[in-house]
């Protein structure tokens, strides 16, 4: 076997550059996988048939939808191509789609040829070399080979011609062999692209190589564009290297998320951030003005680091905002856009993107449709970018389609589960019975009175509880979680799919499952009066809720009742109900209160969220009411025990697997914002300290206003906004004290209790099972680097899922108010901006702004009436939808009282 020695530079831990050598063993026996080949007779599930296609990277990236819909069924992809896309999978939706196609292809036969390890495809363009090899491989085939290379590269065309390889561009191919409907997916024709004058404010880009040079010299700045959601004209970049924010006044054809090179404008064009410091700025202006004339000078040496440092110092000391213009796009954002069509203009749903020009043969068919498009180009003569059709999603205004749009825009997977995934489910389907053998392996808890308490209409019940009194004033409390890991075996197709989806996404009107329905609603759902598999945590506690002992184990349970919160609450409150179950729930309630007290004593925060609940009209499916969630004692009952279970499990797995456990941590809040809140609260006469979570919790408790229960909740909401996001971490990356969960005041915390809807819990289940020697840890989980990557992905997906839920909630709020114009309601002033105040309507938990005159940070004047912060006013509400976010317009109505 031939060995090739490759070397590549690498950074070691001390950040020194090392050359790492690597051997690659080249073999000559990589099969062709063509049906009926006499030479390569290796067994495989993929058997290619004529015609066979090979595609270059550009086609795979740009025309993947076309390929999916076309008659191209047998594709040979290079391993290096897959690696190229896999590397960019996280950033680029194009690459993601390509990987999806390869990993879960049902209609197409895709063979990944391992070109990196093949002796035939070295030293040259692997695509052409492989095509050549296939051609020479002809002799072993029974049927004549029909191989076709699709490429957009002119040079490759020439080479293919010389080597007698069939080769087309995608355009030629579609025109020759495919249905005319596919032409629309090709995008722009050449005739459309004429040379025209550049329009105002737009100029050609500097070549990328030159940009990179200039960035190194410090003449240009590199960063990712972010555009304001509400005003597309406001764009800025953040230069990570220098911690410098630059506002863009000449956007020059950028899209949100592009990586761009920016040139600073001369300083006299900069605006000042704050007007108060105007005088100070003028004083210094003369001194530094001279230096700045060099900005556009050709002498690079003067723009050296010392100059840059001066610049930054000045920017920092004077709170200046530098302005710049975009001179080149280094890398376009790679995502698909959803939206609708107006004539030949595509209007994206995300407000951060401009309108696109769409070329399509039949515009009328696209009227009123939601579609998905792909960016093609933004020529210098056009004020709008060009795009091409990717997919027609459905009718606009349809609640289902709109939901789809929300999910797509938040990169939530909405595909059906593939048959490979479904094949991993038990064959018996919903008639699945737990085998005797399985029961023997587990603790049999079927004779214990176990019940579940969940919201109304919950179908995926993943937790149940029980409690019974033991001797010596001790109690046995058990939390039983659906044993999802029994059905989701590591590294199976279903596991990979779940790891890809990471979480179930809840929209107002539906949910997108992480696992197939059979599991979520049936086999794993711990419904009453059926035997179910569970993972149990059982504590022995005394009556002060001190834990005496804890035990983990897989079990079989049989829930006696699936209650909802209100039901459970009524059972507790009903003095005549003395059934065994009710007594158990009462005990749980008693212990939960003790636990809560313990937790609060340690400094756990109870924060409020602005989540709302919709009730729907049965006929129109429009929202008929919006309310805040109502909470019962029983909510907190379930919550307390879930928290306790999570903490116990976190301790257990960290002890056994100190370097590969998945935990959830919550860092300390953003101090700057809390400080602002502190000043405000102190002005209002409340004590407010936030040195520890306990002090903060106590401060929050004592902020009360007579006859106003909402006020406390409001302050909690504001505090919530100062909090950092809780994140999943792999313990390999984080040291022990940093694992602290601030909000819960828990040393260690993880997610264990909802494996049906969160993938993190499935991982934790496996860790726990391994830690008590029930099962061996899957190989993929003992890899620290991989676990870290999984955690990052979990965090990303969770954030996206939250955004999607919020977008959906906003959409429904919009629908609700659309049908009810001119609602008048009471609102509370929550914050003061430069020329506006923010107000919130307690009833709907809506926030909006009202113009006002500002006196100081406590007092304002609205239309002649003087108000203090946190006063109530009357407002009229109207809501508009803008890029997934409700835009609430409020109008002040003079209070007659």
């Amino acid at each position: 076997m031939k060995v090739q020695l490759n070397s590549q530079p690498r950074l070691n831990k001390r950040l020194q550059v090392m050359i790492q050598a690597k051997e690659v063993y080249l073999s000559s026996d990589i099969p062709c996988q063509i049906r009926g080949c006499a030479f390569c007779n290796q067994e495989s599930d993929i058997q290619l048939e004529n015609p066979i296609f090979m595609l270059d990277n550009e086609i795979l990236e740009q025309y993947i939808d076309l390929i999916e819909q076309s008659n191209i069924n047998n594709i040979v992809v290079l391993q290096s191509q897959v690696a190229y896309f896999r590397k960019r999978q996280q950033q680029s939706q194009y690459a993601q789609q390509m990987i999806n196609l390869i990993e879960s292809n049902f209609s197409k036969k895709i063979y990944v040829y391992q070109d990196e390890f093949s002796i035939h495809t070295q030293n040259g363009n692997p695509l052409i070399l492989l095509a050549q090899w296939y051609n020479s491989h002809r002799q072993f085939l029974k049927t004549e080979l029909d191989l076709c290379l699709l490429t957009q590269n002119y040079q490759m065309h020439q080479q293919c011609k010389n080597l007698n390889i069939k080769c087309f561009t995608i355009q030629d191919y579609v025109k020759l062999y495919e249905n005319n409907d596919l032409l629309d997916f090709l995008g722009m024709d050449e005739e459309f692209e004429q040379n025209q004058e550049a329009i105002n404010n737009q100029f050609p880009y500097i070549p990328v190589e030159e940009c990179v040079q200039q960035i190194k010299q410090g003449l240009l700045f590199e960063g990712r564009i972010s555009i304001d959601r509400n005003n597309i004209k406001l764009a800025r970049i953040f230069v990570k290297q220098f911690q410098l924010e630059i506002k863009i006044n000449q956007q020059n054809r950028v899209l949100h998320g592009d990586r761009v090179a920016v040139e600073l404008l001369s300083e006299d064009q900069w605006e000042q951030q704050q007007k108060q410091k105007e005088i100070k700025f003028d004083e210094d202006d003369d001194d530094d003005g001279n230096n700045n004339t060099h900005t556009n000078d050709t002498s690079h040496e003067i723009m050296s680091t010392s100059h840059l440092q001066n610049l930054f110092r000045k920017v920092q000391s004077q709170n200046l905002v530098p302005y710049g213009k975009v001179v080149s796009v280094l890398q376009r954002t790679e995502r698909h856009f959803c939206g609708h069509v107006e004539n030949n203009i595509f209007v994206p749903a995300d407000g951060r993107y401009p309108n696109f020009i769409l070329k399509h043969s039949k515009y009328d068919t696209l009227q009123d449709k939601k579609i998905q498009v792909q960016f093609v180009d933004w020529p210098v003569w056009s004020d709008k970018p060009l795009c091409k059709l990717k997919k027609v999603l459905g009718k606009a205004g349809d609640m289902y389609i709109e939901g789809n749009v929300i999910l797509l825009e938040h990169q939530v997977e909405i595909r059906e589960f593939s048959h490979q995934v479904l094949a991993c489910l038990p064959i018996e389907g919903d008639k699945y019975r737990i085998s005797e053998q399985e029961i023997k392996r587990r603790m049999d808890l079927r004779d214990i009175l176990v019940c579940s308490i969940d919201p109304v209409g919950c179908k995926d019940i993943d937790d149940t509880l029980h409690c019974r009194r033991l001797e010596n004033n001790l109690y046995e409390v058990g939390v039983h979680i659906a044993d999802v890991s029994h059905f989701v075996k590591p590294d199976s197709a279903i596991d990979k799919e779940a790891a890809h989806r990471c979480t179930t996404v809840y929209l107002v009107d539906r949910r997108t499952d992480m696992l197939p329905k059979l599991l979520t609603e049936n086999l794993c759902s711990l419904v009453s009066n059926v035997d179910r598999l569970a993972f149990s945590v059982i504590w022995i506690m005394d009556d002060q809720a001190n834990i005496k002992d804890v035990k983990f184990g897989k079990s079989v349970i049989r829930s006696v009742a699936s209650l909802h919160y209100q039901q459970a609450q009524e059972m507790i409150d009903n003095p005549n109900d003395n059934s065994q179950l009710t007594q158990g729930i009462r005990l749980l309630n008693m212990l939960a209160k003790k636990l809560k007290q313990l937790r609060t004593d340690q400094g756990a925060l109870s924060l409020a969220s602005n989540q709302v609940k919709f009730s729907f009209d049965d006929e129109t499916h429009n929202p008929s009411d919006v309310r805040m969630y109502q909470l019962y004692d029983t909510n907190s009952l379930v919550e307390e025990f879930m928290l306790l279970a999570n903490c116990s499990v976190a301790n257990q797995i960290l002890q056994r697997f100190p370097s590969i456990s998945v935990l959830r941590r919550h860092q300390e809040p953003k101090m700057k914002q809390l400080k602002e809140l502190q000043i405000l609260m102190n002005d209002l006469g409340y004590q407010f300290s936030f040195d520890t979570s306990k002090l903060l919790s106590e401060s929050l408790d004592q902020i009360q206003r007579p006859n106003d229960s909402f006020f406390n909740k409001l302050i909690r909401m504001i505090t919530t906004r100062c909090m950092n996001e809780a994140l999943y971490v792999c313990t390999a990356d984080v040291d022990y004290p940093e694992l602290y969960h601030y909000g819960l005041a828990a040393e260690l915390y993880t997610h264990f209790t909802s494996p049906i809807r969160r993938y993190a819990d499935v991982l934790v289940h496996r860790l726990l099972a391994a830690s008590i020697d029930l099962e061996s840890l899957p190989p993929s989980m003992s890899n620290k680097i991989r676990m870290t990557r999984i955690c990052d992905k979990l965090n990303m997906r969770h954030r996206m899922a939250r955004f999607a839920s919020r977008a959906s909630s906003d959409y429904h709020t919009y629908l609700f108010f659309k049908n009810r114009p001119q609602q008048i309601d009471q609102a509370i002033i929550t914050g003061i901006l430069t020329d506006k105040v923010t107000v919130m309507i307690p009833r709907y938990v809506l926030e909006g702004t009202i113009d006002a005159q500002i006196i100081d940070r406590m007092n304002i004047i609205i239309q002649g009436t003087r108000y203090r912060i946190f006063d109530y006013i009357q407002v009229e509400i109207s809501v508009e939808l803008h890029s997934f976010h409700k835009k609430i317009h409020m109008k002040y109505i003079k209070n007659n009282n």
């Binding site: 076997m1 690659v24 190989p779």
Partner: protein, 227 residues
């Protein structure tokens, strides 16, 4: 589709092994042993008149530049001293030492480049160097590293693979006696069945290497005699 490893090898394929005997003529026996990118050099002196109290001296070292993460290796490092101790035990059983206790053999072995499986390379290098020195010993000692990576049994792990591997087993094996001399298992958790598989694979691979190595030596020595 036949599964390939990161470097294009089949699952149970060794890297290419090369060795060169008598690289240093100033000592009695020497060997440069290459297994892929892992390189080990071994020098043997003796048997010679005793200068110290021990009959067999083994000095094991790892050069500081052998790894890309240059790690200071010291003789006080537990892993090193333990392995040196293991080496000594293994070879004390193998070498026919002077019954009168008047002569000593000193072996010094150094890992010049480490790209995984360095311990098995050390064993093989010492065996070859002893052979070169003409030290009398009872048998060949060959060593091999096998591992379990993502459910696949693999042989001769590279550095990268041993980072991700779930279990890594190094054995040294006396082929004629079918006796395992040294057994080192690095793992987080492994099932009994998997471990049996690993051991079995390691033994069969060690046999393979033994036959190959013997053939090579025969040829080399035959050439020397013919001269």
């Amino acid at each position: 589709m036949s599964l390939k490893r990161q470097d294009g090898r089949n699952l149970q394929q060794m890297r290419n092994i090369e060795f060169k005997l008598a690289i240093d003529l100033s000592v009695d026996g020497s060997c440069l042993y290459k297994q892929g990118l892992t390189e080990v050099i071994c020098l043997v002196q003796g048997p010679r008149a005793k200068t110290q109290s021990e009959l067999l001296l083994i000095e094991y070292s790892v050069s500081p530049f052998s790894n890309i993460e240059s790690k200071r290796s010291s003789k006080f490092d537990k892993d090193y001293s333990m392995f040196a101790e293991n080496l000594k035990e293994s070879f004390e059983n193998l070498i026919i030492l002077d019954e009168n206790g008047k002569s000593e053999i000193s072996i010094s072995v150094c890992v010049i480049q480490n790209d995984g499986s360095s311990k098995s390379a050390v064993f093989n290098a010492i065996t070859l160097a002893l052979l070169d020195a003409g030290v009398s010993m009872k048998d060949f000692l060959v060593s091999v590293t096998v591992g379990l990576d993502q459910g696949n049994l693999i042989v001769d792990l590279t550095q990268e693979e041993s980072k991700t591997a779930q279990g890594e087993l190094t054995i040294s094996y006396q082929s004629r006696k079918q006796k395992i001399d040294f057994y080192e298992l690095k793992t987080l958790k492994l099932q009994q069945q998997e471990m049996d598989q690993l051991s079995k694979l390691a033994v069969s691979k060690a046999d393979e290497i033994y036959q190959w190595m013997k053939e090579e030596i025969y040829q080399i020595k035959q050439k020397q005699i013919d001269q």
